[in-house]
């Protein structure tokens, strides 16, 4: 190296010695590795030192000036503070983890090797701003921090930091210059200069929820970019557009964060008491709104992971291992930002736009519906939004949890526990279980239509489920759409459970059932497990699943080949179409082989919810459990009712007494009444009637005699003209115990009663005809035969009259008998059989009630009691009336009537008969009475 240049060698040796023994700026001690590395660097860079002339320059040691002038203070008095920024320093934020950084020595930021010219002042600042190894904790720490840590760029007239004059770094000035030159009206404005690192850090702070910034400003939850913030290497407009783009996300983050705080009660802003009720979702005395809380919990989880990412980025920025630019940071965050956008959109639609006075029911269902719709929407986009779908799905599963828990509690224990009134079905507290209106009035179903935005209370849409839905089917029902397919079953199961619970209270508890409750998995757990197993890898699934998959695979491949053939056949050479079809089918096959879900208690972000499967997932994972429970508990209820409460026996009893199936018993009863009527004695006394009834019934069915009773109602005077209507004062009633009276309600009894009256009238007519005796006329004929010849002329008409009476009587009897038979056998009996069959098959209580009603309606119709065919009934009544009059006349004796009355009666009868025949023939031809042949 030396090439025998002694002077150089000597200088070299001396200088290196001196260097090695003198301190370096940031290193402690002498002759450290750093020293040697510096030396080795210089050696590497050396460029034929022997060829150059070198004379050592004498160096003059600077002596310390005596007056100890504080240069730094003096220099900083003026406005021009030439200290550069030291961003690589302790955080201003409240992070405690960063506190250790403040204890470390500071180093100056290096913006890379600059080979271009820098302002001359840099030389001076170099020497002045050699950093000091201080630790924070000095009494004037703040002042020191301000001087050495970060240039307080947020203060007005902040000092300018030096930067290079290279074109790329100095774009702002160049552009300004250009504008100044071209636009005569251009005035350079006051600007605040920041570095890109500062911008990055402010961005990160903004996205993690810090509220006070310099660059980003807050006004009423809107985030805006402070004007006049510039970096030197971008024009102000460019920077502004980038920052505004970020500000939007910052705003979304803030809104979501504020919502989270509100719901969890950590509101940092004090609410005035009056305003609080409309803004806060939770007051001290109100029960917690669980759906919102679940939603917030899910959001929180997402934000935690997001903030972790932000912290990682920030650490990288601090450690400065590699260059971090704003666009790189944005690129890295872009999936998160997209997710935040999705969340914000869902939040705005689902929560923020709901007017403050809406009840929790509507709020909860609106939120769930929004999430559901969003998932479907993103699902249909396809693979591009897989992340969004996964996020939304995890959000949805979390938010739906309180709902499912309420449902679970209700359909398993019969207890609807919903303190915040967020479930769509509300328990009507005024109606206790024993009330007769229990089945109908206990639960109210809320439905809100979005178009009109009214609230409709549908009273128990379950039993009138057809009625209720029809009423509002022309509007769009938006209640909790994911539960709609199983809503009926849930309602039925819940009500049945409640009923069962109350029924069971009276009987011995099945201890076995309660012990199993602890091991029972809740609906939510079952749901998650099903989702889990659907998305997990097939190796874990049992063999039958594998074979099922193979079958599915085979069928899918077959489908695929069929489709391919079709495409070829039709000369459709569209490769894209073919590819898409292939993808569609093969993806379905691969679907089962996708990622595992992990521990479902922790990781609910199932990543493999792909297209077309969300509804499928629901259908396979949620609905079967609900349906199973429904079948189980409704079956339970039916069994209990039939077995323990003898429902069938009661139905039978109704038919026995009201429909006169217990012929002999009722015969005793009504014949006694008819006898009394014939003897023209007063029979309309309740005590008499009741005693009669008890006697009749008590012979065969003693247990029912206590339940039956007869009531008398005053009759309309206009109807009293026809003796046949005299019977209509009767009302039979049968006391049915609870819970059977849910099925056999008082309305049912009324219908039963109407049929009973009709039957009674027919029976009366029949009875009165039956008891007429031909023998009554025997005397008359004998008398006639014994009379003298001159009265023979009168004999003929008398015989004729008798004959005619007999004929009439026979005709009337035929009519009444056929009517009677028809009703008793064709209608009552056959309908009764049908009804019994249906009752056997009834699966739940609602169905049973419906069947019963239908049965009653059928009977009512067929007995011609309907309004529309009342003229037919009137005609029949007329005939029956005629019968009664006839039998009265007959009994009154031969001389009580005249020929004209016979004529009239015959005429009347013929008319009625013709009338009925034509009407019924027409009806039969029309087909409206298929049973009437």
């Amino acid at each position: 190296m030396v090439h025998s240049d002694l002077s150089k060698a000597g200088s070299w040796r001396r200088l290196t010695e001196e260097f090695l023994s003198s301190p370096l700026p940031n290193t402690h001690g002498t002759k450290t590795d750093t020293h040697y590395s510096v030396l080795s660097l210089l050696l590497f860079l050396s460029d034929s030192p022997s060829n150059t002339n070198f004379t050592e320059r004498p160096r003059v040691k600077d002596t310390e000036p005596e007056d100890k002038f504080d240069w730094s203070k003096y220099l900083m008095e003026g406005e021009e503070i030439e200290t550069g920024p030291f961003p690589d320093t302790p955080e201003w934020s409240e992070d405690e983890s960063e506190e250790e950084d403040s204890q470390q020595p500071i180093s100056r930021e290096d913006s890379g090797i600059q080979l271009d010219r820098t302002p001359q002042e840099d030389q001076d600042t170099n020497s002045k701003t050699v950093p000091v190894a201080w630790t924070v904790g000095e009494p004037d720490a703040r002042a020191w921090l301000e001087q050495h840590v970060v240039t307080p760029y947020w203060v007005g007239h902040a000092p300018r930091f030096p930067h290079s004059l290279h074109l790329h770094s100095n774009l702002l000035n160049v552009w300004d210059q250009h504008l100044y030159n071209t636009d005569p009206l251009y005035l350079p404005e006051e600007k605040a200069f920041v570095t890109e690192t500062q911008v990055i850090r402010e961005t990160l702070w903004l996205l993690s929820g810090v509220k006070k910034h310099f660059i980003f400003q807050h006004h009423d939850s809107k985030v805006s970019v402070r004007s006049n913030v510039v970096v030197t290497h971008l024009t102000s407009n460019c920077l502004r557009s980038v920052l505004e783009h970020i500000a939007v996300y910052g705003q979304a983050v803030f809104r979501l964060q504020r919502f989270i705080d509100e719901v969890t009660g950590h509101s940092s802003e004090p609410f005035p008491p009056g305003v609080g009720s409309s803004h806060s979702y939770r007051k001290g005395s109100e029960p917690p709104f669980r759906t919102y809380q679940a939603f917030v919990w899910a959001l929180n989880k997402y934000f935690t992971s997001f903030k972790q990412e932000l912290t990682t980025i920030e650490r990288e920025v601090i450690s400065n291992d590699e260059t971090v630019t704003l666009s790189a940071v944005l690129e890295r965050l872009s999936p998160h930002l997209a997710q935040i956008k999705v969340l914000h959109k869902v939040f705005c639609t689902g929560v923020a736009e709901v007017p403050p006075a809406t009840p929790n029911v509507v709020r909860a269902s609106h939120l769930l519906n929004t999430l559901y719709k969003a998932i479907i929407e993103y699902d249909s986009v396809g693979d591009a939004s897989e992340q969004a779908v996964a996020l939304l799905f995890s959000l949805w599963t979390e938010t739906v949890r309180p709902y499912l828990e309420i449902v679970d509690e209700w359909i398993v224990h019969g207890h609807l526990f919903d303190p915040a009134k967020e479930f769509i079905i509300q328990r009507n507290k005024d109606v206790p279980v024993n009330h007769k209106d229990f089945w109908y009035a206990t639960y109210t179903l809320y439905s809100v239509s979005e178009m009109v935005d009214n609230e409709e209370k549908l009273n128990d849409a379950a039993s009138g489920s057809s009625g209720g839905d029809q009423g509002s089917s022309n509007r769009q029902l938006t209640m909790v759409s994911f539960l709609k397919p199983v809503l009926k079953q849930i309602i039925m199961a819940g009500k049945s459970m409640q009923l069962l619970k109350n029924l069971d209270c009276r009987e011995a508890e099945d201890s076995g059932r309660s012990s199993r409750d602890a091991e029972r998995k809740s609906l939510y757990t079952l749901f998650l497990e099903s989702v889990q197993s659907r998305l997990s890898s097939p190796e874990e699934s049992p063999t039958d699943k594998v074979t099922e998959e193979q079958a599915t695979t085979r069928s899918l491949i077959k489908m695929q080949s069929i489709v391919a053939q079709h495409l070829e056949m039709e000369d459709v050479h569209d490769p894209l179409l073919a590819i898409n079809f292939a993808r569609l089918y093969l993806e379905q096959r691969d679907f089962h082989e996708r990622f595992s879900g992990g521990d479902f208690m922790v990781d609910r972000s199932s990543q493999s919810v792909t297209c077309q499967t969300f509804e499928l997932t629901l259908r396979c994972c949620l609905y079967p459990h609900i349906e199973r429970r429904y079948i189980e508990c409704c079956g339970n209820l039916m069994r209990t009712l039939k077995k323990d409460y003898r429902l069938l026996e009661y139905l039978q009893a109704m038919r026995k007494y009201f429909l006169l199936e217990a012929g002999d018993t009722m015969y005793d009863f009504y014949t006694a009444i008819f006898d009394k009527v014939q003897e023209k004695e007063s029979w309309q006394q309740p005590s008499f009637l009741n005693v009669l009834l008890q006697e009749a019934v008590g012979q065969r069915y003693p247990e029912d005699s206590g339940r039956l009773s007869v009531f008398l109602e005053p009759l309309d005077p206009s109807r009293k003209k026809h003796p046949v209507n005299n019977l209509e004062v009767l009302t039979l009633s049968y006391k049915v115990p609870w819970p059977v009276d849910i099925v056999i309600s008082s309305e049912c009894q009324k219908i039963y009663n109407q049929v009973f009256l009709l039957l009674l009238q027919i029976k009366w007519a029949k009875y009165s005809l039956d008891t007429l005796r031909f023998g009554d006329f025997a005397e008359v004929t004998r008398k006639l035969e014994g009379s003298p010849a001159e009265e023979v002329k009168l004999k003929q008409p008398i015989n004729q009259q008798i004959h005619r009476m007999c004929l009439l009587r026979v005709k009337l009897m035929h009519f009444v008998n056929s009517l009677h038979n028809y009703i008793m056998t064709r209608i009552l009996h056959s309908t009764g059989l049908e009804f019994q069959n249906q009752v056997q098959e009834a699966k739940d209580l609602d169905q049973l009630i419906k069947i019963h009603y239908r049965y009653l309606a059928t009977i009512h119709d067929r007995c011609l009691l309907r309004e529309k065919v009342s003229f037919v009934k009137e005609a029949i009544m007329k005939v029956l009336n005629l019968v009664l009059i006839f039998s009265d006349r007959w009994r009154a004796g031969f001389g009580a009537w005249k020929i004209e009355s016979i004529d009239k009666m015959e005429l009347d009868f013929k008319n009625c008969h013709m009338f009925l025949v034509t009407i019924l023939n027409k009806a039969v031809r029309r087909g409206s009475f298929p049973h009437r042949e």
Partner: protein, 73 residues
């Protein structure tokens, strides 16, 4: 405290001077500013061989730039 700082400053300044002399002796072509930057880099732990390679590359690149700038003229 301030005097200690100043002494320290002075010492460091001297070191830099010495280093400048050494680099002049070795004909490295570094000026004071570049030298100080290199020192700081070495303190941070950068490999000196690598750093020297980089510097040589940059010099070559700037040379070619200057040549291409001068040529069209």
């Amino acid at each position: 405290m301030a005097s200690a700082t100043n002494t320290n400053l002075n010492a460091v300044r001297e070191t830099m001077d010495v280093l400048l002399e050494i680099s002049r002796l070795l004909n490295t072509g570094l000026d004071m500013e570049s030298l100080s930057i290199c020192v700081r880099l070495c303190e941070q732990g950068i490999n000196p061989e690598a750093l020297s390679a980089v510097i040589k590359e940059l010099r070559k690149a700037s040379e070619t730039l200057k040549v291409s700038e001068n040529c069209p003229n």
